[in-house]
């Protein structure tokens, strides 16, 4: 399709032709929506992307009526342009052609002029005397950023020429590639040559124009060594990226569904268990006793609103009991609520065998809790056991318990609020300067249906849809294939993700071309929109269009194309060098808003979706997933709370126990251990045999003193000494004697132990059990 015809169609069908109206309405929207722009320098926390807007030249800012809403009042734009070099006037700029080549240069210009001579080898970096191109008042700051300087220039004198010539030559250069001239005489020519040189170098890998040489020739000053070059981020090969993607693609879903199924299963299990238990509880036999008062109370407690916690229910029931005059029960409920709270916090363990003193003593390690609890317990005891007037004490107890309980509830609420506050909305209504809220508002104002793209690219089936790829939405190769097929079937695609385009489009992005200035339309557009129509974007990225590409330039900036148009099948592709035009900040500048709405209206889709970092492809690793989901603040807060918890509760993971000091055991401990072993093996008969043997011999030694060996005289003597009946003693001695004759090693009964006990008593009475 003829490109000129398409754009003619666009202008004819555009619903809004008055760009001033766009501008006015965009500004009005900004005033109404109050986006999160900087109000002062102290509170300003713009991202690097957003700061780029603050680095526009003064001439560009003059077209930006509400500039002060975005940037700090006294911000001069320096930091936005000093990412690659920060030391004085020495810096390093660069040109990056993603995936194709890299051209980098450095320059030095402390005087503000674009001095220098052409670098040896005939390859120049970019020249930008844009300090002179605009108002001519910021030459120092901007020339510092420039790449290598070809040719000597005077920032003061050649401004207007530089702009116009550079722009025209640049435009030519984009079409007449290969006309590289490293001229060193004219600034305007130098820019044009620079554009050409970039085009030429595009397919050759990389080349470098050394600014030191140029600087030495131009300013005659000694050039310090160039700063260390920033490292390029590692570019993973496609197969590795695909492997990572495929690994991440199945781990995430499996984990998600596993956790979900387990969670649901647990909930269902709990519900079923409670249901079954309640059913079994209802099946009471006719003879079953009637429900007790406690059961009825529990039923009444459960009948209260489910949204209440146990503690709140108990407090509510206490109030109800007090209202009905049953103050003693009310006090009991208050006390129960307090104990339940303490149990929830892991401070006490509830048991019906524990006294109130047990609970208080268990709080010994938490004095801040123990003291108020002790006071409450004292009053509860007064009611329960002291027969004090419960009516008077209930009010005090209730207020104390409520205060105690609510302190913890307030802490929980605070934690909840902090957690919620830590969350960052992933809504498309991102009102930050780099967000898309203004775009949505603006498009909606013109009845354009625009929203965040929620569906995978492979599920794009609406042919009347327009899809905008913003920064960080980098489709993989198979996704690109699907996208291009979708476009060929009639879809409209705006690619503004700043690079990573498929090779078949023949388009690359050059970062930091540094050919500043407003964007200009082609001739036909300028006639339509007027000469005062200006588009401004920072960062000065441009596109590099391959010779065999079907793309046609629709927007350009000085020497380089900024936007191109490609017709593919029934669909259309618009490629922009970056996505700045679709950000909130862009709509404040110049006639950016008019352009955006115009393009979207021209595409005429019923539905417009945009894709950003939260795009359709999953993360490659857990850290990326956390970063994408913006869970980092919550996780950090959670970890901090866990740290506080461990500091508060101690670091022991189990019940502290005293160290067992190994020492030599006493003889009695050995005897005790032996006895325990006998008891475990049920060898009471054997123990009786041993003890009976010893006891009989000792009794004879103590009492008989050689007066015979029979049991009868021994029993008689023992009976006399102990006061026991002779028959009883005789029975004990006979049993002991019988046990002595047995050779049993195991077995026995409790009677054996009783006999040992009786013998031991006789031994005690007759002189002790040891001697």
């Amino acid at each position: 399709m003829n490109v000129a015809a398409l754009f003619a169609l666009w202008f004819a069908s555009a619903p809004v032709a008055d760009m001033h109206e766009f501008r006015t309405q965009a500004q009005e929207l900004f005033k109404q929506k109050k986006y999160h722009f900087c109000k002062d320098k102290k509170t300003c926390s713009l991202s690097a992307e957003e700061m780029k807007w603050c680095g526009l030249s003064s001439s560009e800012k003059s077209h930006w009526s509400d500039f002060e809403q975005l940037c700090p009042p006294d911000y001069d734009g320096q930091s936005a342009f000093t990412e690659d070099g920060e030391d004085g006037g020495n810096s390093e700029g660069g040109i990056t052609i993603r995936g194709v080549s890299r051209v980098r240069g450095s320059s030095e210009d402390k005087s503000g002029s674009c001095g220098g001579e052409a670098a040896e080898g005939g390859v120049e970096g970019t020249q930008d005397c844009s300090g002179g191109q605009g108002a001519g008042n910021s030459g120092a700051s901007q020339s510092r950023q420039m790449g290598s300087i070809s040719g000597a220039s005077e920032s003061g004198s050649g401004k207007g020429q530089g702009q116009e010539q550079g722009g025209s030559v640049g435009e030519e250069g984009s079409q007449q590639q290969g006309q590289d001239t490293a001229s060193g005489s004219s600034h305007g020519e130098g820019q044009g040559g620079n554009a050409d040189s970039m085009a030429n170098d595009g397919g050759e890998g990389s080349s470098r124009g050394e600014g030191e040489d140029a600087g030495a020739g131009g300013s005659k000053e000694e050039v310090p060594p160039p700063p260390e070059k920033p490292q390029e981020p590692e570019v993973l090969p496609p197969e590795r990226l695909e492997a990572q993607a495929s690994t991440a693609s199945w781990i995430g879903p499996v984990l998600f569904w596993t956790i979900l199924v387990l969670g649901l299963g647990f909930v269902i299990f709990v519900i079923l268990r409670n249901f079954l238990s309640s059913r079994s509880g209802e099946k009471q036999t006719p003879d079953a006793p009637s429900r007790t008062r406690k059961q009825e109370e529990q039923t009444a407690l459960l009948a209260q609103p489910a949204s209440l916690s146990d503690i709140e229910r108990l407090l509510l029931r206490a109030q109800q009991a007090a209202a009905s005059g049953n103050y003693e029960a009310a006090v009991g409920d208050c006390y129960a609520a307090l104990l339940r709270k303490l149990e929830q916090e892991g401070l006490v363990r509830l048991s019906r065998f524990n006294t109130s003193g047990d609970y208080v003593r268990s709080l010994a390690a938490h004095a801040q809790v123990q003291i108020p609890v002790q006071e409450i317990v004292r009053r509860v005891d007064q009611v329960q056991f002291g027969a004090h007037q419960p009516q008077e004490l209930f009010t005090q107890i209730f207020s104390q318990v409520s205060a105690f309980v609510r302190t913890s509830i307030h802490l929980a609420c605070l934690f909840f609020i902090l957690t919620i506050a830590a969350c960052q909305k992933i809504e498309p209504k991102d009102t930050r300067p780099a967000g898309q809220a203004a775009l949505i508002d603006l498009a909606t104002a013109y009845e354009l249906n625009i929203e965040h793209q929620k569906w995978p690219i492979t599920q794009l089936d609406r042919k009347d849809q327009t899809l905008i790829l913003l920064r960080h939405s980098n489709p993989r190769s198979e996704q690109w294939d699907a996208l291009l097929d979708w476009v060929a079937d009639g879809g409209s695609l705006i690619v503004a993700n700043g690079g990573g385009l498929p090779e078949e489009l023949g388009i690359s992005v050059i970062e930091r071309n540094h050919l500043g200035g407003p964007l200009t339309f082609r001739q036909a557009w300028a006639e339509r929109l007027g000469t005062d129509f200006k588009l401004f974007v920072p960062d000065y990225n441009t596109l590099l269009v391959a010779e065999n590409s079907q793309a046609s330039v629709v927007l350009s900036r000085n020497a380089g194309p900024y936007g191109v148009w490609i017709s593919r099948g029934s669909g259309r592709i618009v490629v922009l060098a970056d996505d700045h035009l679709f950000t909130n900040g862009a709509l404040l500048a110049g006639d950016n808003a008019a352009f955006v709405v115009g393009v979207l209206s021209w595409l005429g889709s019923e539905k417009i979706g945009f894709v950003d970092a939260q795009g359709w492809h999953g993360p490659h690793n857990p850290f990326e997933a956390i970063a994408n989901s913006r869970l980092l603040p919550i996780l950090l807060q959670f970890m901090a709370l866990m740290g506080i918890f461990f500091v508060h509760r101690g670091v022991t993971l189990g019940t502290p126990r005293n160290l067992i000091v190994k020492s030599r055991r006493a003889f009695t401990q050995h005897v005790q251990a032996l006895g325990i072993q006998y008891a475990k093996s049920r060898a009471s008969r054997y123990a009786l045999r041993l003890y009976a043997t010893w006891a009989l011999e000792r009794l004879r030694d103590r009492i008989m003193l050689g007066k015979g060996t029979g049991l009868f005289p021994l029993a008689k003597a023992v009976a006399q000494q102990t006061g026991l009946s002779e028959g009883e003693v005789m029975q004990i001695l006979v049993e002991a004697h019988s046990a002595r004759q047995e050779a049993a090693a195991r077995g026995g009964s409790s009677e054996d132990l009783q006999l040992i006990h009786k013998l031991a008593r006789i031994m005690q009475t007759t002189g002790g059990i040891r001697s």
Binding site: A336, F353, G357, H757, Q764, R770
Partner: protein, 321 residues
């Protein structure tokens, strides 16, 4: 007298005695409870822990007179109770009171005397009177026996009969003091403290025997909820049915537990008893009244462990858990 006064006096007594007997607060508390509950105390501990010092200092602080009997195997009952002596001048028998006629009696190493001598204290402890030759003579009021026995030495000792043990309100184990306490004790000695000369400790009488009797009488005003009576009886009942206990506690133990709980409640500035009082004092009241099964002794169980298991099996009245 009211509860604040009662509690204040008890606090002063404990403070005074605590100045002399360092690190034995629980023992002092139990002794005071036993005195207020009109009971007697059996202290079990190795020599040198200050048992005699405790009695002497208590006598000073309580304003009572005290006597000490060192029990030996050849000690006769008349050595404890006293006896009738024939006065040749008057040609009549005259009663010569023994050391039992005092207000605070320290029966040191009571288990070294044979059973018949120990039995001489039975009537004195329970009836607070002594019968000699058919004449019953009342003991001074108040009367309090604090007996000690050495658990280590058993040679030449006679274990106390169950009937005698049952007459003691408490049996307290006196343990060695902590290191810091012992160091403080040495510091006091360096500063001139002499256990043999209590006057150097500057103890002052807090009350006299009359006030002590008033305090004992005041315990009748301490309220005991009916649920607590059930609690006490349930505990005592459990001792009689416990699988490891051969002989459980007697009704006298129930009374002892009740009275001591009232005394302890009053000492805590409460005019009513709570379950915690009973649970706190139960081991001291019951440990010497229980006879364990031989199997339990073989298994290494003690009376204290049995009591603890009982206390963990008896629900606390009016519990909200």
């Amino acid at each position: 007298m009211n509860i604040p006064q009662f509690s204040q006096l008890c606090g002063q007594i404990c403070t005074q005695v605590g100045q002399v007997l360092l690190g034995q607060k629980e023992v002092i508390d139990h002794v005071l409870v036993a005195i207020l509950a009109r009971g007697h105390l059996l202290l079990e501990g190795v020599p040198g822990l200050g048992k005699t010092l405790l009695v002497r200092s208590l006598a000073t602080v309580l304003g009572c007179h005290s006597k000490r009997i060192q029990f030996t195997p050849d000690l006769m009952p008349s050595d404890v109770t006293g006896g009738n002596i024939f006065n040749q001048r008057t040609e009549q028998f005259e009663f010569l009171p023994g050391p039992v006629f005092t207000q605070l009696l320290l029966a040191d190493e009571i288990n070294r005397a044979p059973a018949k001598t120990q039995s001489a204290l039975l009537e004195a402890m329970q009836e607070r009177s002594v019968s000699i030759d058919g004449v019953t003579r009342p003991l001074p009021h108040p009367f309090f026996v604090l007996a000690t026995q050495n658990p280590i030495e058993s040679q030449g000792t006679y274990p106390l009969p169950d009937a005698q043990l049952d007459r003691f309100l408490f049996k307290i184990h006196v343990s060695h003091p902590a290191k810091a306490i012992e160091k403080q004790l040495l510091t006091n000695v360096l500063q001139g403290f002499d256990a043999a000369a209590l006057e150097t400790a500057k103890l002052v009488p807090v009350i006299d025997s009359k006030i002590l009797v008033d305090m004992q009488m005041f315990l009748n005003h301490i309220r005991v909820d009916e649920a607590l009576l059930d609690y006490i009886t349930e505990i005592i009942s459990q001792t009689r049915s416990h699988r490891s206990i051969y002989l459980g506690a007697s009704p006298r133990a129930s009374i002892a537990l009740l009275q001591s709980a009232r005394a302890w409640a009053a000492m805590q500035s409460r005019e009513f008893v709570i379950p915690d009082d009973i649970k706190y004092l139960a081991p001291a009241v019951l440990r010497h009244r229980l006879v364990l099964q031989p199997e339990a002794e073989f298994e290494g169980l003690s009376a204290d462990s049995c009591i603890q298991s009982i206390l963990q099996d008896v629900p606390v009245p009016k519990s909200v858990a």
